[in-house]
Each structure stands twice: as C-alpha cells, then as structure tokens.
Amino acid sequence: MTFRTRMLVSFALAVVVTAALVTWVVSVMTRRTFEQADDRRTATLVAQFRREFERRQEDLVRRVEAIAAMQSTLDMAVELSRPEPDYAPYVNEAGALAAAHALDLVELLAQDGTIVSSAQWPARFGYKAEWVKEQADWKDAFLKSEELPNETVLAMVAVRAVSAGGSNLYVAGGYRLDRGFLGSLVLPAGMRVLLYHNCEPRFSAQALTDAAGPARGAERLAPLIEQVREERREATRTIEWPDGPETFQAIPLEGRQNELLGVLLVGSSRRELAALAARIHWAGGLAAGFGILLGIGLSYWAARRLTGPVAQLARGAREVAAGNWNARVSVASRDEIGELARAFNSMIQDLISQRDRLLQAERVAAWRELARRLAHELKNPLFPLQITIETLQRAKEQAPGEFDEIFRESAATLLAELANLKTIIGRFSDFAKMPAPQLEPVDLNEIVRGAVRLFDAQLRAGSHAPIAPELDCDPGLGMIRADPEQVTRALHNLILNAIDAMPAGGTLRIRTRRAEDRAHLEVSDTGQGLTKEECERLFTPYYTTKRHGTGLGLAIVQSVVADHHGKISVESEPGRGATFRIELPEG
C-alpha cells in the first residue's frame, strides 16, 4: 500500500467515522424530541375524542328530552296513565319518533316497564323491560347492552320520564355504538377508533369493529383488550403494523352497574413519526455518504498535495539510482518536505561531485595502473633491449672483431624484443580500440564448440598436465544478437585464463543455457581458485594473478560483456576453482 493510499484511507476513515457518529447522535436526539411531541399530540387527540364522545351523549340527551317534551308524547302519557290503558294505538309511535329524531333506538315504556312501542324491536310491545324501573330519576346518557331480534349491540342510551296522571311514561332513546356511530365521530387525521363489544368471556375477533366494519388485525390487539378487561383501567400500547406503528389507548366502557360492556380503542398513527425518523436516517445517511465522498475527495487531494513532493523525491531517487544524475526534485514548500527535497538535491549534487571526483580518481588510478602496467610490461622487453644495446656498445668498443657476430645476435634479440614490445603494444592497442559490437544473430553454442576445437590441441599439449574439456550446450539456446568476433575473443580469453589457472591439469567446463530471455555462459575451471578480494579486483584492467600476461584478458571480456549490455560475475573459493558466468541478452 503506497503512502498516498494509506493517507487516503486514514483520512477517509476519519471522515466516515465522524459523519456516522454525528448522524447517529442527531438522529437519536431528533427522534426523542419528536416522540415527545407525538405523545403530547396523542394525548390531545384522545382528549378531543373524549369531548366528542361526551358531545354525542349530550346531543342524545337533548334529543330524548325533545321527544319527551312533545305534546304528542304528553298526550300519550295522559292516555296511558288511565287504569287499564290501551297501548294498541301507539304501537308504531316509537318507529316514527326514531325516524324523526334520527335515533337508532327509541322505546316508549309504561310505568311498570311494559314496552308500549319499540323502534328497534317493534314486535316486543307488551313485554316488560325491568331495567327502566331501576332508577327514579334519569340524568345522563349511559351505556347499555341492547338486545335486538338477531344480535346484541352496545348502545348509548338516555331516558326521560314524562309524568301524567300520577304515573310515568318513559322515553328511552339511543344510538347504536356500531360502525356507523364510529364513522360519525369527527376525528383528526391519523386517528381512528375501534370498538370491542364485550359479550363473551373469551376474546372474539368478530366483536372488534371500526368505522369500516370488522377490524383487521384484531388478534394483535387482543392482549391490550384482555389487559383492560382484567384491570378495568385504561391502558396504552403501541402495535407495529406492516405499514407503520400505531399507539392505542384502550378505554373501558362501563354500564350503569359498572359492568364492563366494551372497550374503546383510540388509535393514533405513528406512521408519520416513523416516516420522519426514516427520513432523518435517510438524510443523515445521504449526508454521511456525501460527506464521505467529499472527505475521500478531499483526502485524496490532501494526500496528493502532501505526498506529491514525497513522490517526487522518490522519483528523483529512482532516477538517480537508474543513472540519471541530472534528476532534481523541485519542491518549493518550506516545510520538512521542502527541506528534504533541498537536502536531496544537494545530496545529488554532492554525489555528482563525488562521482566526478571518484571518476577522476578512478581515471587517474586507471591511468596510474595503466602506466604502471605499461611500465611493467615495457620494462621487461626494454631491459633486454637495453642490455643488448649495451652489449653492442661494448662489443663495438671492446671486441670490434666479434662485433658482427654480436651485432647479429643482438639484432635478433632486439628484433625479438621489439616484436614482443609490438605485441604488448598491440594488445594495448587492441584493448584501446575495441570497437562497438556489430550485433548479428549468433549461435553461441557454435562459438563455444569452435573455441573448444581451437584450443583442443592446447588443452592436450604436453607442456602441462592435460585438461579435460566438458561441454554442456543447451540446445534450446537459440540465436542471440551479438558480435561474434568479440564474443569469440571473450570466450578465448576466458578459456586461456582457465588454462592458466590449472597448471596441474583439471577440467574445463563450458556450459550454455537459456534462462529468462538471456543467454547464460559459464566457464569453470578446477584450478586454485580465487579469494574474495581477488574476485573483486579481477576485472580491473591489468589485474592479473598470472605471472605473465597483460592482465587485459578479463578486462577485454568485461568490456565485451558490458558492450553487449550483459553481466559477468565470478564465483570462486580458494582451492576450488573458479566459475565465470556471463549473461547476455538475446536481442
């Protein structure tokens, strides 16, 4: 992971965590505030509902009073106050009164509870309704379980007595508390009312209705209803519906003798609150997401800004490592990065100077080495030359007569030494004017075989112990682009070196192989081997461990290898021989 990526991740992480935390806290606090507000709203709505219920009760009482105050009702009361009254003419009165006063239930009852006329059950005339005698004066509306031909319903009932002739005619009027009643209540939005008519000991889903009919999901409300039935107190519970939560306040409905007739459930939808909460989450999420993206963007930019100079530095260092000593890092900032850049630049500068000095020194050292080598090499042939010439001088001086003989001998020696000298100088010259390689497809294996054939005689020559050549050529080694002459020369030099390293004989192993698009050539001997230090100095021109030789051989090899953009290395341990490894690119 790059520094920039790490920075980016760190920044992004910081932003994400912060955004998430903030969103959560805000969400929780907002939600709590809204919940409290919603609770207050629910309480207000329930109070409103109660007032509406009371209003309906008062309205009912007024209507019943209006019926009781009618002249026709009074006339009826007078008629019915006679001994052995005739109810027959009034049997249909209640129905007409119910229709006229928009009531669901109207009953006219005589003093002894006899039903004179019933709107809701017309056929019940003549039967007794004992409940009407239970109270002397009737004031408010109350709840009652009303029996009808095919069902029992819950009703809100009010009673008024009309006195005439010493007896009472009771007018009982009421509303059915059914879905029609529930639908007629004026409720605020988001609120609904359900009614549970408690007629059976066990909970019955059919007994729960709302303004539209039997309520759905009745089973979910069963525990709340049961609680109210047992405790006879109001209770509140929130139910989670698929489309949102709803809080129900359950109010027990009691009759005149405090018997539980039903349970009224006032439901206040929490859907808006839930939706609001969801919206907040969404908004928070969106904001967080946006913030994160922004943060990432900013992190990226910041990381770039911060790591830019660092990258530049890194790039500069890479270039320098690759050899481009002109690489500079341009950083203008004044912070540590800038300091670092400036330090880098000055370091490069120093390195360049050092390198130049080193180069200079090396060159001077190389010159010195060359001069030393030259001096060394030349010293040998020059000494005999000097001797010879001195000999000649002496001869001329001392033995003029032998001068011609001596002159001939000396001339031969001079010529031989001069030839030697020429050879030496030729070698130097060769080394000096080694040209750029002329690359062409070359079969390295063939060159190796050719070289071995060439040196075959020398390897078996009697001047030293025989050296056994071993050849291991990789057939998969194809053609390589190389200068055949130079490669041949390098190979010859390595073989010569190997021969020179095994004066007691041994094995000369030459191996070629192909690996990773490069041609590998190994020349191994089983000679004395080299120490570590020797290995290091080996390729310095004129470094030789041989007694004779110019020491140029390996330098030439190294030069050839370098010209071919290859690599050369040596591996050796004293007493264990040496292995020269050359890598050449294929093309």
Binding site: D75, V78, E79, R82, P83, E84, D86
Partner: protein, 361 residues
Amino acid sequence: MLRLILVLLGLAAAPEDSVRELARKIAAALAPREAVALSVRNASSLAPAEVAGVRREVENQLRAGNFTLAADAPTTVAVTLSENWQGGVWIAEIRHGDKRDTVMVAPARPRERAAATPMGIDRQLILEQPEPILDAVALEDLLIVLEPDEVVFYGRKDARWERRQAIALPQRVWPRDLRGRLTIEGDSLQAFLPGLACKGKVQSEPALECGESDAPWPAGAPLAKGRNYFEAEKLPPFYSAARVGEYSLAAGMDGRTQWFDNATAATGSFAGWGSDIAAVETGCGGGRQVLATRPGDSTDTDAVQAFEMTGRRPTAVSPAVEFSGPVTAMWPAGPASAVAITRDLKTGQYAAFRISLTCSR
C-alpha cells in the same frame, strides 16, 4: 231515503228432533247408567226461555236413558248452543278423565219470528232556540239547558218556559262536535263536558262549581280527550251506549253497533243504527228497548225508532219518528223516555224533544 233491513232471527220453538238427536248422541258416548254433570251454555241467538227448554229436554232424555244427573259427577257433559250464519250448531262435549268426545247436531233453520207488536213512539218539543243545545233536563216546572258556554235555568210561565238564570261555564276551546250531558239527582246537578265536570244545586240558589275532570260520564266511560267519543276498557271507542237486558250496546266508530253479551262474553256487531242510542224501560214487550237514530250524517234528516234485542239482532218495535234535521244528541231522560236534540237543516235552529215510548194497544 234509507231503509233499514230488519234481520229477524230466533227460534219459535226448538225442533224437538234435534234435541233428541243430541241427547241420543250424548248417551251413545256414555257408559250405561253413568252419572254425569250436565251444563248448558247459550252462545247463540236463542232466547233464554228456549235455552231452558233445550236443557229440560236434554235432561229428560238422559234420565229416560237411565243416566243420573249429579253436579259432582266425574263425567261432565258440557252442552253449548252455538250457531253459524246458516243455523244452529249444538255441541256436547263429554269428558271422562282424559277421554273426550264431541257430538254435534245442526238444528234446522227456524221459522222467522212474527214481528213484535209495535209500540207507540211519541215526540214532544221542549225548547227551540238558535243557540246550540247540548242537553236538556225538564222537570215539572224547571228546565235546565246545557249550552256550550253556560247552563241556563228556565221556569215555567204559563205553558212556556221563561229564562230565569244563566251560569257561565269556564271559557274553553271546545272540540268539534261538542257533547255535553246533564244529570239531576234530587237536588244536585251535574254537568259533563269534555274535560270539565260541574256540580251544583238545583232548587236552592243555583250555583255551579266546575273543575277539570276526566271522570266517566253517565254513559259509563270518560270522553276521549279531544274527541267526541267515549273510551272504555274492553270495548272499542263508542259514541253512545245502552244496556238492554244481557246486552251492552255501543254505537261504534265504524258505523256499526257493537253488542256485548254479558252472560256469555260473546261479542259481535250489526249495522243499521246511527251513532246515538239510548235505553228506555217501558215494562212492556221485552221490558227494555233501545231508541236509536238512523245512520247518516249532519246533512241528513234523522229519525228515531225503538228496537228490542232478540237474540243478537235488533228488531224494530215501533215506527220511526222523523225530524227535520240531524239528531245531534240523544240521552236517556227518565225511565221511559229520552231527550233528543236536533238541528233544523233549513233554519239552523236547535230543538230539544222528549221521545217517549208507549206500550202497544
């Protein structure tokens, strides 16, 4: 222009073979020499005498068949003399223990009874005046007239009535077809009007005390509030009522006269009478008769005729006495007479008449 159809029913004499047939069937359902408790009930138009005759004959037949008649016998024979519209249906229910037998005979249709000897009917004008009269009571030398607004006392002067005093009645808004009634008992006077009853003295300083009242009128029932008819238990509303022998009669709202047999609790109705009836007791004929107006309304002239109840049907026992307008009220006034108030269709004058029945010559 209306004539009443006189529906005459009744038995001249019970066909003896029907009685024998009935007795024979009863005997066939009994064990030999069984003791029976015999009861005979009349649910038909047979006269009491005829019913008694049937009973006697049945008893005779049973005794002749060696059956013992004992009131506490376990076996009961309940004979009901019933009828359908075509004739008699005599039924005997024999019960011994759980066993029940029913036998029937249908006596042949009886002959028609001869028309009763007509009685004489007489009308006598008491008073005539333009103001409405509700009722009038005429004593020897005192006439008291009930009018809508006052009670007027008249004294006799020569052969005419002279107005002496008037006592105002409480101001009221009277219902349509106002009715009122006056009764005198000894010295006390009672006046009945809708919702109002007044008491007072007659001979001594005439004075009236009136008060709200829904008490029954002499007709036996209170006047229905705001209406012109009476309402009593067990009977539908009626305009006027009369009691003749075992029958209570009431002129109903549907134009028919309802009869109620106090003995057998049977009830029925017939048409042909108007809405004012009054019972009178003459002592001749059947003893009690009913004076009835003709059916019609206030735009017809009216007539009053006397009837007797034979069986369940009225039989005219006098000619009809005609009036020049409708009879607006008729009340019994003493044993053998009634007071009828009429309104002359042409002049609009109200007149009070005394109607009396005289026995036949």
